[in-house]
Symmetry: C2
Subunit: 384 residues, 2 copies
Amino acid sequence: MKRLAILGSTGSIGQSTLSIVEQFPDRYVVAALAAGSNVDVALEQATRWRPRIVSLATEKLAGQLAVRLAQAGVTGVEVVHGTAGTVACATHPEADFVVSAIVGVAGLEATHAAILAGKPVGLPNKECMVAAGEILTAAARQRNVPILPIDSEHNAVHQCLRVGSHSEVKTIWLTASGGPFRQLPLDQFASITPEQALKHPTWVMGRRITVDSATMLNKGLEVIEACRLFDLAPSQVKVTVHPQSTVHSLVEFVDGSILAQISVTDMRLPILYALAYPERPVSSLTFDLAALRHLDFEPPDFERFPCLRLAFEAAEKGGAHCIALNAADEVAVEAFLERRIPFPGIPRTIERVLAATPEAHPTTIAEVLARDREARQTAHALLK
Amino acid sequence: MKRLAILGSTGSIGQSTLSIVEQFPDRYVVAALAAGSNVDVALEQATRWRPRIVSLATEKLAGQLAVRLAQAGVTGVEVVHGTAGTVACATHPEADFVVSAIVGVAGLEATHAAILAGKPVGLPNKECMVAAGEILTAAARQRNVPILPIDSEHNAVHQCLRVGSHSEVKTIWLTASGGPFRQLPLDQFASITPEQALKHPTWVMGRRITVDSATMLNKGLEVIEACRLFDLAPSQVKVTVHPQSTVHSLVEFVDGSILAQISVTDMRLPILYALAYPERPVSSLTFDLAALRHLDFEPPDFERFPCLRLAFEAAEKGGAHCIALNAADEVAVEAFLERRIPFPGIPRTIERVLAATPEAHPTTIAEVLARDREARQTAHALLK
């Protein structure tokens, strides 16, 4: 029986993780839940799953939850709050495995704390790996703790990597849907609206990640994530556009063999893989291979998607440039969604922030967060 | 340094194996060569590779080779002949690994002997597994000897299987090119000529296997081979037609993940994989993934390719029916190539031989060979 700490339990990945717990009650129980600001859902989850500890964003929200749990007659649930509360969930002595699904760099400290506490981590959050990949993987190596990727591409790579050794890996090929603007004439990019950018052809996701898919910055973040997770040079990571999102990624070995992973586009599959690794439980998440007809691939268009080029450049520089790439993009996407800048303004903003970023390689999480704040300030200043 | 016994050294797989030895002189040396009747090539190979032992088909041919080796000043090469000679090669004390590439059931005794002698075997020969799979795999289990498939599909499956355990395998999907008649109108099948059947769209192979690809009996044999090699029920093996022969096969796991292997259509790759397993040496057999555009798949047409249906039926019955399937096909293909029967006469002959075959499960190689002879006699009698 694996006892889970789920950080970001009220989000999409958090809820999918709980649906896996529901499906496999003989395999998983919930030890800790770090929710955000949604007291209603936190109450429902705590009542249903009876964790040892629940964390909310603020002291006030935590107070509300404690009162409502008492009213509901739910006892034995410690209620905490803030970053310290999230860290308490991530390092709780009764948690065997941490699903670190808080969006953005907000989950960074807790993820780091979980690894330092020797907990295996399932990581759907790519921003943590982009901003602090060197620190997290160094801690994981030192503690001999596995980090299991829940991002569908990296999860696919993790599976394919099992058929060879690290030194036998030649290239990792991340597949990309290409987003909604793969075939849009370039001269129409300036007039792309937020509504158009928020329509992803194959995955239903959050707002920022959906826009990031449209600019392909998302794939760029994944390139950096792959370098960190799998200890590869940026030159060993390539992108192939695959509109059907059926092949989730491929690994090419030095002997010439290429392994690919195929599955439904459902995040529960990588979550289950991470939770159960190295086992594979029987699931109903079946891909109908008999109905498969065509798979299409094409090279990515770096002119159309300058964000992808910027990400490769940041990956080469590492450290502060990866932090700035992610931070500047978040600010720029927000500005685009608020109609303050056009779609091509996203890569332009990132490029200018990167140009203003001095090369640096933070060695602590505090330093990473400081660089992240600086980059955001630079981006905000540029957008004024 | 791995010392190889190559059975069938003058054939296509044998020569490809020697080209691998040539490419990796620090990894492989040749300990034994079992050639057929081609004394010239055997002389050349023995002179070049200096094995401890060489076997030819007959005493007369062996005598010729011994004289010519002496004339060439090549010493220290023992020359033997016949089945006993092949077995001596397969079990030679200085051989660490046996590539068993003699075509058809002719290689059966030597393959069995190699396994009993505790030698790991690389097996491109599907007929051995079809006719005597239960016996060979039982011996391999008992001796704890790996049988590494060199057939490209089974080699792909072997690679994909490494990402899960045996009990986690749901279905194996063997890809099939569909051969030259995948889209030929059914009413033209009766007039297919040997010349048309000998044109394979993606692989260059021997005559029988090329016709077997056109009838898809070859894929049927591979279904049986897969059941034996990987200890699966026929219901766990499926076929998907994939005209590009880029994906060499796929394995579907119980959690919903599917792993696929992609590579160039070059037999040297599975040979290298088998020789080097579990390592992967750097090779030049690169697949250009950046140039990949489309992969197509479609369900096999059992009406068009009755041989495939017959193979699944034989796989269910096992034993004598698998032996008869292979034997009857060999006789029928020969008759087709000699223009004695039309193309649809191949499945008709097999079906009639299978109907005349009593259910039996041979437990010795001698019994397998006896059943094989019986089936051939039945087929010949039917074709008179």
